[in-house]
């Protein structure tokens, strides 16, 4: 597969520097590689000192790791971004309309546009949300849309993250780091700022507070605790927003409201940005063994006294099987053709598709419907014979558990290596905020990069790194 030609976002396919990268390239060529290597190390020290780490699941506290940071920015032109953001906005609007419909009339099922089993057999569907209208009518306050690129004009949505998308702190810290290390780059390029995100997030959450409070809403951020892999991000966002970072044991239901234990007694919280999964949210309603949540929180929520962001049950919208219906979903709720394309997807639950997938396993990427983080996934072209055989068995045993997609020729962006620039595959996760006031997309997002040569897996848990992502003012 290495003789395949990939679209490089800096050099195109012809090897000439593309326009958005030209000022950067001029700068880069005037720099001493030794100096840049020192900067790269400096960046890592900075990250370590700031504590921008993630905990590896199932290991002790000692295992805090850095997500490798690459100093070469990924640059997107203003025009490209405009086009993308229109598509993202349309998609996010459709996702919210879909969630409202699924938990109310299920018109899309009645209209025959989505098979009923997609909902009835879906574990992410929360019956407790049926008939509940979240405050402000918003389900997904924060969405991350994973995009990949295959050519100058070709973008695809790889995945929607409608539960608790993470990574936004890396987007912000990557920019801070670049600003500190290479201030001169930002006077040569007009890069749209991302630093407004925490303020936007706060305003967006506050705008979704339960109605009739008669006071400024109190926002809190619920974390599973300091051993959670994304704890850094939780504390970072709480800090930047100026809100309390709470854990389940700081909270209880009092006087029909969610309250936090302060040094002056229990005080109400009106909007809870939770980074705890649905199942753990309320031992009284869901998993009775959970110690991460708050008993009775769902009762407070269903009585309309609390906003939970994202709303419980939003996982139904980012399920990989639902993903394959996103074009229909967008059309059904917006009445428009989708502006952003889906990656063509075979649902293995379908007999003919399964047969195709089994016949072409070596060319395809196979994913678990409910999996995340690059686990439980097969990448046909790089898999060994043994892996292929094992996956074939899995597919035959539980076809409904898998979808398959072609291996896309993911675009590359250079990273800085010992021997200079080298192309590596990337994806992009822009972050979207939804409130009754509108949809807000921070220009750029998190670029994840597969650091291993030829690798297509960008997940941090599988050796991926990140880059600062620039959207230029054209």
């Amino acid at each position: 597969m290495n003789d395949q030609v990939y679209f490089d976002e800096m050099l195109g396919t012809e090897g000439t520097v593309r326009r958005p990268y030209q000022p950067f390239n001029t700068w880069f060529e005037g720099e001493d590689p030794k100096h840049l290597r020192a900067k790269q190390r400096e960046a890592e020290d900075l990250f370590r000192l700031t504590g921008i780490t993630f905990n590896v699941y199932g290991r002790a506290e000692a295992e805090e790791r850095l997500i490798p940071f690459d100093i070469i920015p990924r640059i997107i032109s203003g025009r490209e971004w405009q086009k993308l953001s229109r598509g993202i906005e349309q998609r996010v609007r459709a996702i919210n309309a879909f969630l409202y419909d699924i938990y109310h009339g299920q018109e899309i099922v009645k209209a025959g546009r989505l098979p009923e089993q997609m909902i009835t057999r879906n574990d992410a569907f929360l019956p407790e949300m049926i008939g509940t209208r979240p405050p402000g009518g918003v389900y997904t306050h924060i969405v991350g849309i994973d995009l990949v690129r295959t050519g100058p004009e070709e973008f695809y949505v790889l995945e929607d993250n409608a539960r608790t998308p993470s990574g936004v702190s890396y987007m912000l810290e990557n920019r801070e780091t670049m600003l500190q290390m290479f201030p001169e780059l930002f006077s040569r390029n007009r890069v749209q700022p991302v630093s407004t995100y925490p303020g936007d997030l706060y305003n967006s959450l506050a705008a979704c507070a339960p109605e009739g409070l008669g006071r400024k809403p109190t926002v809190g951020l619920l974390t599973p605790g300091i051993f959670n892999s994304a704890y850094f991000e939780h504390s970072f966002l709480a800090d930047e927003m100026g809100v309390e970072l709470v854990e389940g044991h700081d909270l209880r239901v009092e006087d029909g409201r969610l309250c936090m234990r302060t040094t002056l007694g229990y005080k109400p919280i009106d909007v809870l940005y939770r980074r705890v999964d649905d199942d753990f949210l309320d031992p009284l309603t869901f998993n009775p063994d959970s110690t991460l949540g708050v008993p009775g929180i769902m009762d407070v929520y269903r009585a309309g006294n609390l906003t939970i962001a994202n709303a419980p049950g939003t996982g139904i919208a980012d399920d990989k099987a639902i993903y394959s219906y996103m074009p229909e979903i967008v059309e059904f709720y917006t009445g428009e053709r989708p502006l952003l394309e889906n990656v063509p997807t075979w649902r293995c639950s379908d007999k003919e598709s399964l047969a195709y997938v089994l016949d072409n396993l070596k060319e395809l990427v196979v994913k678990e419907v409910h999996g995340s983080g690059g686990y439980g996934m097969l990448i046909g072209p790089t898999a060994t014979k043994k892996e292929l055989a094992e996956f074939r068995k899995k597919l035959e045993a539980r076809p409904g558990n898998y979808i398959a997609q072609p291996t896309l020729s993911l675009s590359t962006v250079p990273i800085f290596t010992k021997s200079g620039l080298a192309p590596r595959h990337v994806d992009l996760r822009p972050f979207v905020l939804v409130s009754p006031k509108g949809i807000n997309i921070t220009p750029g997002g998190l670029t994840r990069v597969a650091l291993k040569k030829g690798s297509l897996v960008v997940n941090s848990s599988q050796g991926g790194g990140t880059k600062d992502t620039w959207v230029l003012e054209d």
Binding site: T120, D299, V300, R302
Partner: protein, 265 residues
């Protein structure tokens, strides 16, 4: 016919309660042949802090137990007008979609026992088959108070061959869903002929039948509910429709005392 109901639940705790919540589903529904004329829930040793309607159209009240309480008394009292409708509750109203009641829950999961029971059920119409199922369940599981556990599944009750109304309902629901019928659990009150005093609520099942909508089946008495039956809460299974779900910190339970009076007005 009008029934008056008085239901007192008294909890005594060994030590003072530090923190406690109770989710109640104890308010009868006003629908079809059942009309709640008045209903009142009062709490001593706690406060009713909020109320909402859940996805099965149950009224849910949240009770917060007072800090330091050593006793909690919940009194529900009211009057309900009932007409005999031969167990027919009628058309499915939302918000939960009908298909939800085809979903299997841990307590209503079909195994060998359920499937064997279903195989023995015959009849010309769905209604006939549902009645036959009721009889089959009653025969397979003897009604015996105090011999089953409250967390038993349908299969466990079947293999034990005994149980109470909760077990009967779970077995019926598991079988009905296995037969392709939407089915649900009902908790409620039943007026008894010989006495007004009781020590537990009753439970039965409902299946959704073509042309009729929801129809009740009380396997414990082998009849479809009549005007002596008061529907309180519905759900996928006992857990979903339970009159009380609670959580407590501190205050180990010392004694639980239930007094129920159901009388014809």
């Amino acid at each position: 016919m009008n029934l008056t109901i008085r239901h007192i639940t008294r909890y005594r705790f060994e030590e003072p309660v530090n923190f406690g919540l109770q989710q109640l589903r104890k308010t009868p529904k006003s629908r079809h042949s059942q009309n709640v004329l008045r209903w009142d829930t009062s709490v001593a040793g706690g406060q009713q802090s909020l109320s909402y309607t859940d996805h099965h159209q149950n009224t849910v009240d949240l009770i917060e137990i007072d800090r330091g309480a050593q006793e909690l008394v919940i009194t529900c009292e009211g009057e309900v007008h009932l007409d005999d409708n031969h167990g027919v509750v009628g058309r499915h109203l939302g918000p939960a979609p009908l298909w939800l009641y085809r979903r299997v829950t841990p307590q209503t999961k079909a195994g060998q026992g359920v499937r064997a029971l279903v195989r023995g059920v015959s009849g010309d119409t769905e209604l006939d088959r549902a009645h036959a199922l009721m009889a089959a369940v009653a025969e397979a599981v003897a009604y015996e108070v105090g011999t089953s556990e409250s967390d038993w599944t349908a299969e466990e009750a079947l293999s034990a061959g005994r149980g109470v109304c909760q077990d009967h309902s779970h077995v019926f629901i598991a079988c009905a869903r296995e037969m392709g019928l939407p089915a649900r659990y009902v908790s409620g009150y039943l007026m008894l002929d010989h006495t007004t005093e009781q020590d537990a609520m009753h439970a039965w099942a409902e299946a959704h039948l073509p042309g009729l909508g929801w129809v009740g089946f009380d396997c414990s008495n082998c009849i479809s509910p009549d005007q002596r039956y008061v529907r309180v809460a519905t759900g996928m299974d006992y857990h979903d429709a339970a009159p009380v779900r609670g959580t407590r910190q501190g205050g180990a339970l010392e004694a639980l005392d239930v007094e129920i009076e159901v009388a014809q007005q």
